[in-house]
């Protein structure tokens, strides 16, 4: 999956970006289009990229109507896989959104929260002009792409210097594969850092990743050290027992 993204970006002569994630996501699952919206106050309110005008319209609709799959995913912290918008459940759930979406040509909509636990960055939405479920492999691929989109969003909001030390997105190359195998210690270390550094959770996670990148170490290894209390990140990071 990572290589598809890198190839997509290389073809445009750029570093991997949200536009690449949307493009690869829509292409990988034979969907018609995709978009990513950043969320500031619990609402996915700022469209960062969209592959076509239908996506833009679907994103806007949900914001204006305050209902729809993208709205639901941030509440439930779970994806919404509306494989067939004609299903009665969806006109019941989104009475204003569903007919409008159908009119715009969307027969299926799949929405993914861009979150790591309590860290919320936004939503990724995808639509298809024909109804039908995702195949099993496609769902897994889209979850991975959603994680990458989350990392990109977290890097682009807030302190760019912390999360993108070389200012060119190269930090992502080493780190996205790092999340391939989820480790509880990464989440625990993130929580610990909110106290050690006195920062909100999204920034704690950014500082953890920045430290691992600056030390050229795997994120999971740094997290293990922090949880084992062999390493603290204070403003001047030193191993425990240092001066």
């Amino acid at each position: 999956m990572w290589y598809q993204l890198a190839a997509h970006a290389a073809a445009a002569g750029t570093r991997v970006s949200l536009a690449d994630v949307c493009g690869v996501a829509a292409g990988s699952a034979q969907l018609s289009g995709g978009w990513v919206a950043a969320s500031r106050n619990e609402e996915p309110d700022f469209v960062m990229c969209a592959t076509d005008p239908v996506c833009e319209r679907l994103a806007e609709l949900q914001l204006t109507l305050a209902e729809g799959p993208c709205h639901d995913v941030l509440v439930s912290a779970a994806p919404v896989l509306a494989a067939d918008l004609d299903d009665a459940e969806f006109s019941h759930r989104w009475p204003a959104f569903t007919p409008e979406a159908r009119e715009r040509g969307a027969a299926a909509v799949f929405a993914f929260p861009l979150i790591f636990g309590a860290i919320r960055a936004g939503v990724m939405g995808l639509y298809r002009r024909t109804a039908g479920p995702l195949r099993e492999g496609q769902f897994g691929d889209l979850l991975i792409l959603a994680d990458i989109a989350t990392m990109l969003l977290l890097g682009s909001l807030g302190d760019g210097a912390v999360t993108d030390p070389d200012g060119d997105g190269s930090w992502l190359d080493g780190q996205a594969p790092d999340l391939a195998l989820h480790r509880a210690e990464i989440d625990q270390a993130t929580g610990m850092l909110t106290v050690q550094l006195g920062v909100p959770v999204a920034e704690a996670f950014a500082r953890l990743r920045a430290y691992a990148y600056s030390q050229d170490r795997r994120l999971a290894d740094v997290a293990s050290e922090i949880v084992a209390r062999r390493l603290r990140l204070d403003p001047d990071p030193v191993p425990d027992g240092g001066p």
């Binding site: 459940e89 636990g117 929580g191 909110t194 949880v227």
Partner: protein
């Protein structure tokens, strides 16, 4: 097996499923009771994440060694075999010479486990995860224990899908992701609390869970509010509902 413990367990599980349901709290209780009912040393529930991993959803204790044993089973081990075949997988006398799962067996014996059982969590044709049991002594689980263990695994599956009416097949996938994300929130909260009060992770989990029960809130909500709070005070000041 203690009949009173058995009936208390089912009453407790049923209660949890009805009122203010929190899936991680439920699964954690199930692993705890599994240890007691099946005379195990440790138990855990792993769930299959479509990203391509078996992820821990709950564990009877939070010792780093036990979590590592679940981690290794992404490459080899009874849970992986159980997930792939949909059938129970047993090892009754693990040694560090094990041929089936060399890395897993070496780690398990190092942490003092000699017997391991993985029971499938099945929903119709799909295997969504496994209940993993460990014992410190070698020897088979007796058939009554295995039947009860499978029943507990089935209860775990039912509890995960707390919507009674699973009509769309996508609902399973959605609910599993919700459970996995809840787990992440709880891990973040454990870290924050452990650091704030200089506790180990197990103790931090118990504090969060006890506070949730005593204040009639869902464990995941308590965890999320704590993680996103500007302070690290615990117990937190009461919040007015939104």
């Amino acid at each position: 097996m203690d009949a009173d413990l058995l009936s208390d367990t089912f009453v407790e599980l049923a209660d949890t499923m009805v009122a203010d349901f929190d899936v991680i709290d439920f699964l954690h209780m199930l692993t705890d009771r599994s240890v007691m009912l099946l005379s195990a040393s440790a138990a855990g529930v792993v769930l299959a994440d479509p990203r391509g991993e078996l992820r821990v959803a709950a564990s009877s204790n939070e010792a780093a060694g036990l979590l590592e044993l679940f981690q290794i089973q992404n490459d080899q081990g009874p849970c992986l075999d159980c997930y792939r075949t949909g059938r129970p997988v047993t090892a009754t006398d693990l040694s560090d010479q094990d041929q089936r799962w060399p890395r897993f067996a070496a780690a398990a014996t190092r942490y003092g486990f000699r017997t391991v059982e993985a029971l499938p969590m099945r929903l119709r044709e799909q295997v969504i995860g496994a209940l993993n049991l460990f014992r410190a002594v070698p020897g088979r689980f007796d058939p009554a224990d295995l039947r009860l263990g499978q029943a507990l695994a089935d209860v775990a599956t039912i509890g995960l899908l707390h919507e009674r009416n699973v009509r769309r097949s996508e609902t399973v996938a959605e609910q599993l992701q919700a459970a996995l994300n809840s787990r992440v929130v709880i891990e973040q909260a454990k870290g924050k609390l452990a650091e704030r009060l200089s506790l180990d992770m197990d103790h931090a989990f118990v504090m969060l869970r006890d506070y949730a029960r005593n204040s009639n809130q869902r464990l995941t909500d308590v965890a999320r509010n704590f993680v996103t709070s500007a302070t690290a005070d615990f117990p937190p000041l009461p919040r007015t509902p939104a």
